[in-house]
C-alpha cells in the first residue's frame, strides 16, 4: 500500500480571543504517504499543536476552520460526527505530550485500553483483555497483566507514555500523530520512547507525524520535515535534504539552538533572540523578519510565499541561506 494517506490542503484556523482574532494555522499544505513519517518542528505557539488538532478534528468549539483535510480519500471536515468518531482511535490515533494529564487518573490502565479496543473492534472482554496484555508487552512494559488493574499514578512518567502509546496502537491505526511525545519526560527516557515509536511504526507499516520543537528528534527518525513558524509552514523538505542544505534562516536558528555534545563544557547555548510574534497582530512582512539576521528590504513589507526549489524542497524566504554554505 502506498500513495497519499493524509493531505492537509490550504488549512486555516482562526481562534477568537479577547484580544482579537488569532490565526493559529495560516494556509498550511501538508501530505503524508502511507507508511511514511513526517516531522513538524517549531517553537511553542507556532501552531503545530493546533495543526494536529485540526487533523484530529478536535479544535475548540469557537475555532473556525477552512480548507480540506483528506484522510484515506475522505474529507474529514465533511464527515458526520459519528463517522468521524469511528475513524478516531481506529485509523487515526494520537499520543499527547504529557502522560500525566492525558490518561484519566481515576480509571485503571486496563479500562482505558479495553474501552478503546471494544469501541472499535468486535472483541469480547476476554479477547480485548488479552490484546491489551500483548500491547503492553509490545511497548515494553514489564508484568503487563498486573498493570491492567493499576492506575496511572502508580506508574513512572516513561511507563505512562508507553501506556499512552499502547492505547494509540491498540486498533492498528493507519496514522499515528505523536504530539511532543517526549517533551514532558526525563531526558534519559526520551530516546527510548522515540525508538519505541520508530520501531512500532516500522513493524506496523503505519504513517506517523511527530510534532516537536526539537530538530534533533526528527533528524534520524523521519522521512520528511516541515518547519512551522507563526502558523505557517516556512520550510519543507525530505529530512536528509533539509539537514544538508537548509534554506530558511529560522530552520538554521532552530538547529543552532540545539545543545551539542561535542561543545566545550559551559558553552552558552545560542538561543533564538526575541520572541515569536503576536499572532493576533499579524505583521505585514515576513513573520520572522524581526528576529532574522538576514532580514532586509522587502522582508518587512511583503510576505514571502512558500516556493519550490527542488521538486521536494519548499521554503518561504527572500534571502535563503546560500546553497553550499554549511549551516
Amino acid at each position: 500500500m502506498s500513495g497519499v494517506l493524509l493531505s492537509v490542503e490550504d488549512a486555516v484556523v482562526d481562534l477568537p480571543t479577547p484580544r482579537g482574532n488569532l490565526r493559529a494555522v495560516d494556509h498550511v499544505d501538508l501530505a503524508v504517504d502511507a507508511g511514511k513519517t513526517l516531522g513538524i518542528v517549531g517553537e511553542s505557539g507556532c501552531g503545530k499543536t493546533m495543526l494536529s488538532r485540526t487533523i484530529l478534528q478536535l479544535l475548540p468549539k469557537k475555532a473556525k476552520l477552512s480548507g480540506r483535510v483528506m484522510f484515506d480519500g475522505q474529507d474529514l471536515l465533511k464527515l458526520s460526527p459519528e463517522k468521524l468518531r469511528k475513524l478516531r482511535g481506529r485509523s487515526l490515533a494520537v499520543v499527547f505530550q504529557d502522560p500525566m494529564t492525558s490518561l484519566n487518573p481515576v480509571l485503571t490502565i486496563g479500562t482505558q485500553l479495553i474501552e478503546t479496543i471494544q469501541e472499535h473492534l468486535e472483541l469480547g472482554l476476554a479477547q480485548a483483555r488479552q490484546r491489551s496484555i500483548e500491547l503492553l508487552a509490545a511497548v515494553g512494559i514489564p508484568a503487563p497483566e498486573q498493570r491492567l488493574a493499576q492506575y496511572p499514578h502508580q506508574l513512572s512518567g516513561g511507563m505512562r507514555q508507553r501506556v499512552a502509546i499502547a492505547v494509540a496502537l491498540s486498533c492498528e491505526p493507519q496514522l499515528l500523530i505523536a504530539d511532543e511525545p517526549t517533551t514532558a519526560l526525563d531526558v534519559t527516557i526520551q530516546a527510548q520512547i522515540l525508538d519505541l515509536l520508530a520501531r512500532e511504526q516500522q513493524r506496523r507499516h503505519m504513517a506517523m507525524i511527530i510534532i516537536t520543537h526539537d530538530l534533533g528528534v526528527v533528524a534520524g527518525r523521519t522521512d520528511e520535515v516541515a518547519v512551522m513558524y507563526a502558523g505557517r509552514v516556512v520550510e519543507r523538505a525530505p529530512t536528509p535534504l533539509l539537514f544538508k542544505q537548509m534554506r530558511m534562516p529560522y530552520t538554521e536558528a532552530l538547529l543552532a539552538a540545539l545543545p551539542k555534545l561535542d561543545a566545550a563544557p559551559h558553552t552558552p547555548l545560542p538561543a533564538i533572540s526575541g520572541r515569536p510574534p503576536d499572532q493576533t497582530r499579524p505583521l505585514k512582512g515576513c513573520s520572522f523578519s524581526p528576529r532574522c539576521r538576514y532580514a532586509a528590504g522587502r522582508c518587512n513589507t511583503e510576505k514571502p510565499s512558500l516556493r519550490a526549489e527542488a521538486p521536494q524542497h519548499f521554503y518561504a524566504c527572500f534571502h535563503p541561506i546560500a546553497a553550499g554554505v554549511d549551516a
Partner: protein, 316 residues
C-alpha cells in the same frame, strides 16, 4: 491507607474532647443555675442549696466537667427532670426519623442536582445552562422555612394532596410513612440541589477541559461514555465532598423542618427541650448531635480516601 485512617482517628479524639468542653461551657452560660430552673420561682433558698449539693453544682466547674465526662464515657448522658426519660432513650427513639428525613432529602437533592449539573456542563454557556444556573442561584436565597411554607400551602392547603403534619413509623405503615415524609424531605431536598448542581457543574466543566477528555475523544469513544465515565467519575469525589459539607446544613434544616411538619425527630426533641427548658436533654442532644456530626465527617473523609485511588494507594 491504614496510616491515613490512623491519622484521622487520632485527630478525632482531641476534636471530640474539645466538643464536649465547648458543650459544657455553653451549658454553664445559663444565668443562675440549673437548680433554679428545676425548682422554679417558689423554691426556698434551703431547697435550692440542698439540690445544688445533690447535683454537685457547688463544686468547681472543672471538677463538674470531669464528673460529667466520666458519666458520659459510661453511657450515662443524664435524665430529663421533666419526663424522667434518659437522654439516650430519647435520642435513640428519634434518631431513625431524622436519619430517614436526611437521607431522603439528600437523595432528592442528588436526583435533581446531578442530572442538571451534567446537562449544564455538557451544554455550558447555552440558554438552558444559564436558566438552570440562574434558578439555582435564586434557590440558594430561599430559606428552608420559606419553601416549607410554600409547599404546605400548595400541596396541603390548596391541593389537599398530602398531609401537612404528622408521622407514622416506617415499620408500621410504609406508605403512610412516606406520605408524611414527602413534603419535609422535598423541602430539604429543594435546599440541597442548588449547591450540588453548582459545584458539580463547574467541576465537570473543568474536567471536560482536561487532556484526558481530549484523548478520550481522540480514541473515538461515544459522547455518552466520555461524559458519564471519563468526566463524571473524577467528579464523583467532589460529590462525596459536597455531601459531607451538606451534612451540617442538613442537620440544621432538619431541626426547622421537623418542627414545621411535626416529625418526632432529633430536631423536634431539641426545640421541644428548649421550649420546656429541659436543659439536661438539651445538653445531651447538643453533645450527641455534635459528636455524630464529627463522626459523620470522619466517615465522609474515609469514603473519600476509599474512592480516590491516589489516596488508597498511599500517594496522598
Amino acid at each position: 491507607m491504614l496510616f491515613f485512617v490512623a491519622r484521622r482517628l487520632l485527630y478525632l479524639v482531641p476534636v471530640l474532647i474539645a466538643v464536649s468542653i465547648l458543650t459544657f461551657v455553653i451549658a454553664s452560660l445559663l444565668p443562675g443555675d440549673l437548680a433554679y430552673v428545676i425548682l422554679g420561682d417558689q423554691a426556698t433558698p434551703e431547697n435550692i442549696a440542698a439540690l445544688r449539693h445533690d447535683m454537685g453544682l457547688d463544686q468547681p466547674i472543672w471538677l463538674r466537667y470531669v464528673g460529667w465526662l466520666w458519666h458520659i464515657l459510661q453511657g450515662d448522658f443524664g435524665r430529663s427532670f421533666r419526663t424522667g426519660q434518659t437522654v439516650l432513650q430519647a435520642v435513640s427513639e428519634r434518631v431513625p426519623v431524622s436519619f430517614e428525613l436526611m437521607i431522603l432529602a439528600e437523595l432528592i437533592g442528588l436526583a435533581i442536582g446531578v442530572p442538571l449539573a451534567i446537562a449544564c456542563a455538557a451544554k455550558a454557556g447555552s440558554a438552558f445552562d444559564r436558566f438552570i444556573t440562574g434558578t439555582a442561584f435564586g434557590m440558594l436565597s430561599v430559606p428552608t422555612f420559606l419553601s416549607a411554607i410554600l409547599l404546605i400551602y400548595l400541596f396541603a392547603v390548596e391541593l389537599r394532596l398530602l398531609p401537612a403534619t404528622g408521622y407514622v413509623p416506617f415499620t408500621e405503615d410504609p406508605v403512610a410513612n412516606l406520605r408524611f415524609m414527602v413534603l419535609p424531605a422535598l423541602t430539604l431536598g429543594l435546599a440541597e440541589w442548588p449547591g450540588i448542581m453548582r459545584v458539580l457543574r463547574s467541576d465537570m466543566i473543568a474536567a471536560l477541559q482536561e487532556d484526558y477528555i481530549a484523548l478520550a475523544k481522540a480514541k473515538g469513544l461515544k459522547p455518552s461514555r466520555i461524559l458519564f465515565v471519563h468526566a463524571l467519575k473524577p467528579s464523583s469525589l467532589t460529590l462525596v465532598t459536597i455531601t459531607g459539607i451538606n451534612i451540617g446544613r442538613l442537620i440544621g434544616g432538619a431541626v426547622i423542618v421537623e418542627s414545621i411538619f411535626a416529625l418526632p425527630g432529633i430536631g423536634r426533641l431539641l426545640v421541644g427541650a428548649i421550649y420546656t427548658r429541659d436543659l439536661i436533654i438539651l445538653q445531651g442532644v447538643v453533645l450527641l448531635v455534635a459528636a455524630g456530626f464529627v463522626i459523620m465527617n470522619f466517615i465522609v473523609d474515609l469514603l473519600y480516601a476509599i474512592l480516590d485511588p491516589r489516596i488508597r494507594h498511599g500517594h496522598a
